[in-house]
Amino acid sequence: MKNQSLKFLQKSKKHLLETWMSNQMEDQALREDLMSNDELRNQSDELLTALLKTLNSDNIDNTQSKDFEQVSGILSDISVSRARHGFSPRETAQFVLSLKQALTQTLEKEYTDDPKVLLDSYIAINKLIDSLNIITFETFIKGREEVIIRQTDEMNEISTPVIRVWEGVVALPIIGTLDSMRTQIVMENLLQEIVNTGSTIAILDISGVPAVDSLVAQHLLKTVSATRLMGAECIISGIRPEIAQTIVHLGIDLSHIKTKASLASALKLAFSMLNVEVKRVEKNRQNNG
C-alpha cells in the first residue's frame, strides 16, 4: 500500500470512526444490552487510533511484527472481554469486519479515478483485516475457555457435599471423575466434616464415578488413609459389578478396605459398628404405646 493512501486514511480518522460506528449500528445484532454505545465508541476509537498510528507501508504486510504489539493488545483485550460478557462469535467478528468496510468505503470515495491505487489499497487492507480477525478469534476462544475453566472450578466446589446421615456417620457421594484437584477438595471437605460432627464412620459412595483407574484408586486409598489418621473408619460403597471386575483385572488391591455394593448396605455396616439396631416396629403396637 502506497504511502499516499495511508496518509489519506490517517488524515481521515474522524470520518473513518463515524463510518465505522454507523456500520456497527446498522448491524441488527448489536447488543445494547451487553454494552452501551459510548463504550463501543470508546473501544472503536482506541483501536482505530492505535492502528492508524502504527501503520506504515513497510509493516502493513506483517501484523506479527513488533510494531503491532499495541494494536494486538487492544484487540485481544476487547475480544476477551466480549467473550466474558457473552457476546457471540458473530458479534465479535463483526467488530473488525465492519472496520474493513469503513476503510474501503472511505478509500473508494477518494480514489474513484485511480483504480490502480484503489486495487492496491484494497488488497493490503484485506490482508490486514484478515490477520486482525485471526487475532480476534484466537483471543475470543481463549476468553471462552477461561469462562469454562472458571465454571469447572465452581462446579468442583459445590459438587462434593458431605452429608450427615446419622449421629457419628457422614456420607460423601462422589459424582463424576475424580481427578487430582477434586480429590483434594473431597478429602478436605470430608476431614473437616469428620471433625465438625465428631463422626467415627465415613462412607464414600462412588456410584456416580464412571470408571476407577489406577489414579482414581490411588486417590481413594489416600482418602481412606487420611480418614483413618483422623480416628475414623472409612467404608467405600456403590461399587458396581463392572467396576468391581475392572478393578480386579487392573490388579488393584482393596482387600484391606471395607467395601459395599450399595449405600444401604454400607449404612447397615455402619450401624452394626456403632452397635445401633434398626428394627421394624409393628404399627398397632406403635399406636398403642
Partner: protein, 137 residues
Amino acid sequence: MIVMTKESLQILKEQDVILFRNRVKEFATKIGMSLLNQTKLITAASELVRNMLKYANGGVVILEIIGKDRVTGIRLTFTDKGPGIADIRLAMKDGYSTGKSLGLGLPGAKRLVNEFDIKSEVGKGTTVTIIRWKNGI
C-alpha cells in the same frame, strides 16, 4: 481387517482426558459393546492416556472402529514423542513404577483388553495399540 471410522484426538492437558474418555464411550456405545467391556476399555484407555501425559507431556490418540471376520471392535493407538521406555519387560511388570505410583497402568491395561501392543524407542517416543472386541472376553 477393515477400518470403519477413524478419528484422532490430541491430548495435552488433564481436561483432554475427560473429553477423550467420553469419545471412547461414544464409539463403544455405537457398536453396542456391553457395559462391562466398555468399562474395561475405558479404564485401559484412561491408564495409557495418563501415562502419555505424565511421562511424555501428551501425545495423540487415534480412535477406530474396526471389523474382522464380521466382528466389530475398537482400536486405540496412543502415540507420544516422549523419552521412551528403555526396558519394556520391566515396565510391563506389576508394581514397577518410576513415578512413585502403583505401577499397574501398563500391565493392568493389557489385562483389560483383547490385544495389546507396545513399541518404544528411547529418545524417540512410545506407541501403544489396544483392541477390545465387541464381545471378546
